[in-house]
């Protein structure tokens, strides 16, 4: 199993700090409805870096990929179907 080197960890750390500054910087601009997706997007890039490198997913066996992926997939189910309720509550009433 290949292991990341210390230098790789320092590199990832530097990237994370840059992304931190980016997300703070971006928040100074008025993005309206885009502010949540942009914030979530940058956070997700950081999350992926943490997952792949600090948590070794990149160097792990496929089963670990599956388990990590399953967690987020199931979270997507929770979000998706629940929001299917909240986002459609204001839709026009069904004919009856």
């Amino acid at each position: 199993m290949r292991h990341p080197t210390d230098n790789l960890y320092y590199l990832v750390f530097a990237a994370l700090m840059v992304l931190l500054l980016l997300t703070v910087g971006v928040s100074r601009y008025e993005l309206g409805a885009w502010s949540l997706p942009v914030a979530a997007g940058i956070a997700s890039v950081k999350a992926v870096l943490i997952l792949l490198y600090f948590m070794h997913v990149r160097y792990s066996r496929p089963l670990i990929w599956l388990v990590a992926g399953a967690g987020f997939f199931w979270l997507a189910i929770l979000f998706g179907l629940t929001l299917s309720d909240y986002l459609t509550r204001d839709w026009p009433a069904l004919p009856h």
């Binding site: 199931w74 929770l78 179907l81 299917s84 309720d85 459609t88 009433a93």
Partner: protein, 549 residues
């Protein structure tokens, strides 16, 4: 008694040591299974007592036995104990804990200490809930809907919530243990498609336990925090949404019903195979259907919320997905039926339970399709139609399969045979009592009788009396196995390693197995369910002089 050395029973997991200390601090998955068996039976009795009082009250239209507040507490206690402290643990923690390592050819589960922790979390959570019951009870319904549970109820909601919260971790850890064991500790040659179908079911169940339970844990935690500190996520007065609780609650509680049925289906697959002397028809389909059920079960929870104020568009989506989840279950029923077709069937007690399961689960499952239909659910939601539907599945399904499994593996677990005559009689009695109890409830629900009410119009009394009469037969029926199984521990015939002639690694060990299961790690070279119709089974039966079919 002092037997000569040759006649003394060999060292097995039961007689390896007798001290209480070695039982309470055991790391042996088989002993932990027995601890669970005793504990869940205790809770089954408590839940049964609550149900008895409920059915007694319902024999008359007036609310003359108990007050309405007490009645609310009774059905709540019945629901909570039966669901969280009997049904959800039942097959996984008793049969699963005992059999999973044996069937895989392993010496124990992957994390024996976590297994023991699971048991103590379960017992502690159960004790807390028991304390809540004795101190005055809970009246929110097992569903804890907000804002009643979070703000208005004056009963022991917090204690019960903490009890269920703690028990949830037991479930998570058990599922985690099973998944890791199945991936990592299969014996050499034990490929996925050589596994018994019980393992497929337990694995699928474990997926649900691990992925769904945390969400209800969160929901209960939030209810507790709202009650204690007024952190109002679910309180409309503070800007919250009561429906959010329902989403979080049902995200777990719908898959939870599949935690209750998937292991039962796994048991039935084993019983049908053994007593038809056949490899289950469509083995791979049955296996994959377990996964399909596990995944699809997460997509349908909104069908519990059709009339709660959920968006009707979400209702449409959930309705359609609910129809979809019936398909893999139907696949199993078709395959079991095909396995039975023109097979040489023996009607031993476990098979009677399995056949009963197939019939009753089919009724329960089909009525589920009625409920998935928005237009019908509108009328029968919160009526006895729903009550009948889920009891057909949970009692007619899970409990029957649980009893069938307990009987089937009883010789392996205890080294004793149960009395076949009494057992068959009890199975038939339970089947009859069950149908008399719950079929009238379909009719009552369709006629409009609401659930969770202790009074009803006079014209429904006949059906209610039938249901209560059935319940008394059912209770009587359950009394028998508890008695003769206990009796068999001292007076039952000693069991051979494989009394029913089934395939699978657990039957290659003595009855009961030694503490470390296998002297040498077995090597699997055969496909699953490799029944030899000619010699082996017939010889095994002749040796033990068991009654034939």
């Amino acid at each position: 008694m002092n037997l000569p050395a040759a006649a003394r029973p060999p060292r097995n997991y039961l007689n390896a040591s007798y001290s209480l200390h070695t039982w309470l601090f055991t790391l042996d998955h088989k002993r932990i299974a027995i601890l669970y068996l005793l504990t869940i039976t205790f809770f089954f009795v408590i839940g049964g007592v609550a149900a008895t009082i409920v059915r007694l009250e319902l024999m008359t239209p007036a609310g003359d036995l108990v007050e309405s507040e007490t009645y609310n507490k009774l059905f709540t206690i019945h629901g909570i104990t039966m669901i969280f402290f009997f049904l959800i643990p039942s097959i996984p923690t008793v049969l699963g804990n005992f059999l999973v390592p044996l069937m895989l050819g392993a010496r124990d589960l992957a994390f024996p200490r976590l297994n023991l922790l699971s048991y103590y979390l379960f017992a502690f959570g159960g004790l807390l809930t028991l304390w809540a019951i004795l101190a005055g009870g809970v009246d929110t319904g097992w569903t804890f809907y907000t804002p009643y549970s979070s703000t208005y109820s004056n009963t022991y909601v917090m204690t019960t919530a903490v009890g269920v919260f703690i028990t949830g971790f037991s479930s998570i850890l058990t599922g985690l243990n099973f998944i890791v064991t199945t991936h990592m500790m299969r014996a050499p040659g034990q490929t996925w498609f050589r596994l018994p179908l019980f393992i497929w079911s337990m694995y699928a169940t474990s997926l649900i336990m691990v992925l769904a339970t945390p969400v209800v844990t969160l929901a209960i935690l939030l209810v507790g925090l709202e009650r204690l500190f007024g952190i109002g996520i679910f309180d409309p007065a503070l800007g919250g949404d009561p429906l959010l609780f329902q989403h979080l609650f049902w995200f777990y509680s719908h898959p939870a019903v599949y935690i209750m049925i998937l292991p039962a289906m796994g048991v039935v697959s084993e019983l049908v195979a053994c007593f038809s002397r056949r490899r289950p028809f469509g083995y791979a389909f049955i296996g994959f259907s377990s996964f399909a059920i596990a995944v699809l079960s997460f997509l349908v929870w909104g069908h519990h919320m059709f009339v709660s104020g959920q968006s009707p568009y979400a209702g449409l989506v959930f309705s359609m997905l609910s129809f979809l989840v019936a398909i893999p279950s139907a696949v199993k029923v078709f395959n079991w039926t095909a396995t039975l077709y023109k097979a040489s069937i023996s009607y031993n007690t476990p098979m009677l339970y399995a056949l009963g399961f197939i019939g009753l689960f089919t009724v329960g499952g089909l009525t589920g399709l009625f409920l998935a239909t928005l237009a019908i659910d509108r009328h029968v939601h919160d009526t006895y139609f729903i009550v009948a539907h889920f009891h057909y599945i949970m009692v007619g399904g899970t409990v029957m399969a649980y009893l069938g499994g307990i009987h089937f593996w009883w010789p392996k677990m205890t080294g004793r045979m149960y009395p076949e005559g009494w057992a068959r009689f009890s199975a038939v009695l339970i089947f009859a009592g069950f149908n008399l109890t719950f079929f009238p409830q379909f009719i009552l629900g369709y006629l409009g009788m609401p659930r969770r009410y202790h009074v009803y119009p006079e014209e429904w009394q006949v059906l209610n009396v039938m249901s209560s009469a059935g319940a008394s037969i059912l209770a009587f029926g359950y009394f028998f196995p508890i008695t003769y199984l206990t009796w068999s521990l001292w007076y039952g015939a000693p069991a051979p390693p494989n009394p029913f002639g089934h395939t699978g690694l657990e039957w290659q060990t003595p009855s009961p197995p030694p503490t470390y299961n296998f002297d040498r790690v077995p090597i699997v070279e055969e496909e699953a369910y490799n029944f030899d119709p000619d010699d082996t089974q017939r010889k095994a039966r002749e040796e033990q002089e068991l009654p034939v079919g």
